[in-house]
């Protein structure tokens, strides 16, 4: 946990053939524990809430309580966790590509930025750099907006009546 994920990524990328699948797999492997920890602590608190106890007193089984009570209540939490990790993953892929630790034949925002910066002595480098940077920001922003509206859809308290 204390090893920065980006280091692991660099090591993995340098030793293995860096395909997209390996990348996704490694990224999820290093990024799940933080979210999981937050969800677990929240679930422990939630378990003692009145409505969950009520469901148990009514004879509700564990699977019933998890599906009907815990998962919906935890939704915002794992949504935020998921979005944060998603942003991180996009960012990390970009940085790996930027560092050149990635399959050079693959098209990637990171490699686009890298190539643009390689030609900074030409006048055109700014025109090459700005589109990928803007796209990159837009992707990350849209992911955030998506999260906000998803939460609105699934939480009745936030819905407009």
């Amino acid at each position: 946990m204390s090893v920065p994920p980006v280091m692991i990524m660099i090591i993995v990328a340098s030793f293995m053939r860096p395909s997209a699948v390996t990348l996704a797999f490694t990224l999820s492997l290093v990024s799940w524990p933080t979210t999981a920890k937050a969800i677990r602590s929240q679930a422990l608190a939630l378990r003692e809430r009145m409505h969950v106890r009520a469901a148990r007193d009514m004879g509700g089984t564990s699977s019933y309580i998890i599906v009907r009570h815990l998962l919906p209540e935890l939704f915002p939490l794992y949504l935020i966790g998921f979005i944060a990790k998603l942003r991180m993953a996009v960012f990390m892929e970009a940085s790996l590509a930027f560092l050149g630790l990635f399959d050079p034949a693959r098209k990637s925002i990171g490699s686009m930025i890298r190539y643009a910066l390689q030609y900074y002595y030409l006048d055109v480098w700014l025109n090459w750099l700005i589109p990928p940077v803007v796209c990159f920001s837009l992707i990350i922003m849209s992911i955030t907006f998506l999260a906000i509206s998803l939460e609105e859809v699934f939480d009745p308290r936030l819905k407009e009546i």
Binding site: M50, A54, D57, M58, G59, R68, E73, D155, R157, I161
Partner: protein
Amino acid sequence: MVEIENYSAVYQDGNHSLLALDRVTFSLNEGYITVLIGESGSGKTTMANAIMGLLPKNTVTEGSIRLNGDELTHLDDDSYRKLRWRTMAMVFQNSAAVLNPVQRIVNQVAEPLIYHLGIKKEEALQITEKKLAHMSISSDEMFRYPHELSGGQIQRTLFAMALILNPRVLILDEPTSAMDAALKAFMISLLKELKSKGTAILLITHDLDLAVKTADEAIMLYLGQIMEVLPARDLMQTLFHPCTVAMCRSFPTMDAVRDLGGMRGDAFYRYTHVHRLSDGKTEPHVHIAAGADREGGHAPILGCLFRPRCTQAVEECGRTSIQLTQAGTHKVRCVRGGIVDLLQLKQIKKAYGRITAVDNASVSLRAGEILTIVGETGSGKTTLAMIAAGAIEQDSGMRTFKDRTIDEWIKNERFSFASEVGIIYQNPAESVSHRFTVYDIVAEPLHIQNKSSGAAASKKRSGTQNEEERKKVLNALTDVHLPVEPDFLMRHPHELNMGAIQRLCIARALVHDPVLIVADEPTSALDPSVQAKVIKLLLNLQIEKGLTIIFVTHDIGVARKISDRICVMLAGRIVEIGPASKIINEPRHPYTELLIDSARGELIHFESPKSEQSVSPDGCPFANRCSRRVGKCLEMNPPCSNVQGQSHLFWCFNPVVLFSYDKKMRTDGEK
């Protein structure tokens, strides 16, 4: 003197016949007051009329009524006329209609003297005046016409009339219905005087207070059947039949704290009639008319008549015909031998780590009653209630529900136990998931049970099952007076106010049609007006559905209003338990007194612990704060003692002896 044996009376009325009395057996003895109680329509007045030979001509009767061994049922009118007034007299119920409006009352009262004894008019009037004066009717009033008198005066005039020939048997039909309290006291002394003279008295009344104060024996009639025969002093206190319990609970007295309880369902008359079947055969059977929609109006030919309104009916009640059986000093017509214990907790112990939450608590809960557990926070009342509800497991001790061990029941049939007990939690907003709609919240107990009844059921519940579920949910919502519009069903809890959410929780607890409701501080989060509504709703539900309720509260003021019995807890121990009126008016344990005094606002400062002396863990939990402490309070827990002849128990070495009422008088005097 008068013996009534297996007497039945049926009023004929066209196609229907009304069964007014069904094999009634009892007797009236010299110097003995027998009281008939029961709802209107239960056959009380019919019985009185039967003894007096005043039943309508079209009445079919069976059985015998004997006066000093002579059969009365075969007497012709003339012989009967000789008996009336001289040997047997009756004070009628509808008093104003009985007197002749065009004669002065003194003349009317003198009439029996003149016609039966042949006394001259002047002499007769003198005797009459004396008698009327004895009834405290002034000489001025004696010469008035009936319409110039008040209801109470007419009643007393009728009394004078009935007593003028000193009859040996006196029948009083609702004598006090038109009387105020002062006159009632007069009435009571009069009855006692007659009793000492050796008159046999049959008192018909719905005034249970009068019954307790005067009568020797009480007979509870229900739809013409005797349900319970009991010593009259046991009325309002020790009752066996659910019917008598419900009756006494409804009656307002000065010291009953929770009254006007009522009886569930409606009163109805019993009709017997003949059905003509298609093949020409006839089949007589009994109908219970009006309101008895539970079984299509058909009364069980076998079985208990009170069953549809009973709080503890079981299947067996409908199968066997039930006879009056002796139970102690009572006679009860009940398969189950009178009211039963629905729930029993024996020596329950529960500790959370080193903290003892409940210590050796034993409670039993009678079917159809409201038991309130009061005590300060941390006294273990919620824990005890939740142990009773099966939500928490005890460390040691026994708990039984409907004569089955709860622990085994939960282990083997979790769901069937969950549908017997409904729980209402403390904080309504917390106890429902805000992601559920109103419909989902109420249907949740059903969902839980349907899901596991078949794995496939959750995926595609069949249409009928869905329909059934919807019906149950709507019924539960109607029971708690919430709307059932589709729009409302799709609402979420955050759109509702607290009162409505608490109603939802009550509906959720009711959806399985439970027998027992455990309500843990259901109103502490509500403001007074909403609290009043929720409490009234609970009380109504309790009566209409015959529920048994365990109510947990820290507010003895609320407890006073709702409970049949109160249980006071302190530091995990029960310190006092008994009928609510006794606990409130005559508390024995100093802690109960403290609770009541502080609720009344009479306790001005909080008493800090009296001494630094340590109380041993076995000592009385109240010893440190107690002003009545004696030496041994510190070392040992007081044993259980009870107030003489009552189900009022307390655990104290030096109980409070002054009743709070006297104390109040005393302190007022000092001021």
